[in-house]
Every structure is written in structure tokens, then in C-alpha cells.
Symmetry: C2
Subunit: 136 residues, 2 copies
Amino acid sequence: MQITHIEHIGIAVKNLDEAIKFYENVLGLKCYAIEEVEDQKVKTAFFLAGQTKIELLESTEPDGPITKFIKKKGEGIHHIAFAVKDGLQKALNQTEEKGIQLIDNQPRQGAEKMNIAFLHPKSTNGVLIELCEKEE
Amino acid sequence: MQITHIEHIGIAVKNLDEAIKFYENVLGLKCYAIEEVEDQKVKTAFFLAGQTKIELLESTEPDGPITKFIKKKGEGIHHIAFAVKDGLQKALNQTEEKGIQLIDNQPRQGAEKMNIAFLHPKSTNGVLIELCEKEE
């Protein structure tokens, strides 16, 4: 697999509006998009810091993955997304061949029209890792 | 404060050698440096992914902050470090003036000869945020 950069860092928050204030007013970053991703039961807010985005995630459902994460670990950093080139499906296949457990066997659509897939944190020292690639 | 990019993402691991294998053999990143930071009671391993580094952190002491973190939350993403320009001390002062609790009131030396300071996660939606700047 060829990783080009860290596409974004996902952060689980209880209240998107409150969290946006911190990133804008204290860190001086600018929220450039807010998007709901129904498939993942989240509302997201995006900021750009150099090459990498900060993606704040607020749950839209009481049974959503972000609600569960916050109940278990509290608010905080949820996942890292690495941008891959030369094919996300190929990267997933290679990863599985190396004995890594996948959450997604094939890409699905995430925020910002990216194709995304998650690796299982059991296989990655507790880090929820997303691999992603811009739609062709 | 002016953030230029995400300098690194710190990841708490139990066993540095095992974790390095995952980042090298599965993700295809290259460990370019291993460094012990006595002040923080950690041994670190660095990888570059585009503009941002992955910093793996293994505790060197049973009472170190990484040991405590892993006991409480398990292995996983520990902190995000934002690179600032125009002065780290100035950025800290501005942050405190905005009511954010600091861990470090003034910069101290981190890995890779960076000046670093942490904000308290109580003030930042549970995210341990490091601000850093290259030594002049």
C-alpha cells in the first residue's frame, strides 16, 4: 500500500457547535463545511490544517458509533484516515492478506465524496484506522 | 494563534517494536528515527506520512504518562500536535486568555528538538492537544 498523507483526523464530540467554537476561536482554524453522513449516523464539521483535515463528529442517533465511542472512552480522537493511492480495494486486499482484520472488506462512500474503509482496531494497536481515496 | 499544519499524531503503544512492524509492513511507512525523551518517560518512533509524522510512544517507566493513559483508555491515539508560527509562548498566552486550561504555561523541549506545550483535555473536548514550534 502506498500512503500519500494523512487525509484527516476524526474527533468525537458531544456538541458540534460548541466544539467548532474552540477550533475557530482558540486554534484559529476555519470550519469550511458541515455535512451529515447518514450511513455513519454523524454530522461532521471540517477544518483544514496544512495538508490534513480535522473532522469533528457528532452522533445523530442514540445507537450510532460515535455515541457508543463517547460512552466507552469519552469525547476525544476517534480515528486517523490515511490517503492511499493506486487503489483502495487493492490496499484492503493486501492488508487482509497480511492477517489484519478489516471492518470494511470493500470501500463505501464517506464524507466529502471519498471512498473509505476501516481496519479493525484489534489488529492495529487500538487505533481505528481509515484508508481513503478520492472518487475517480 | 497561527497553525501551519499538523506536526504529528502521538500514539500510545505497549510494545514499540511490535507496533513499528505494523506501520512498516502493513502501512508501508518507514521508521526514520527512534528517540528516548526522558522528561516524558517515553521511547518514541517516528514515521512520515506526507506533511505529518506518526509518533509511536512506549512508556519507559511504570509511573509514566503513557502507562497511565494505556491503563485508563487502552492503547490508541494519545495526542495531536499542531505546529504554530509567530511564537509558541505568545500562542500559549492567547490560549490562556481565552479561558483554556494549560498543562504547560511555558514551552519545554520535546522530541526532535521541538519546543512543545500541552493544553488540558478538560478544555478541549477531551483531546490532548500539543502546540509545537521548531527551536530557533
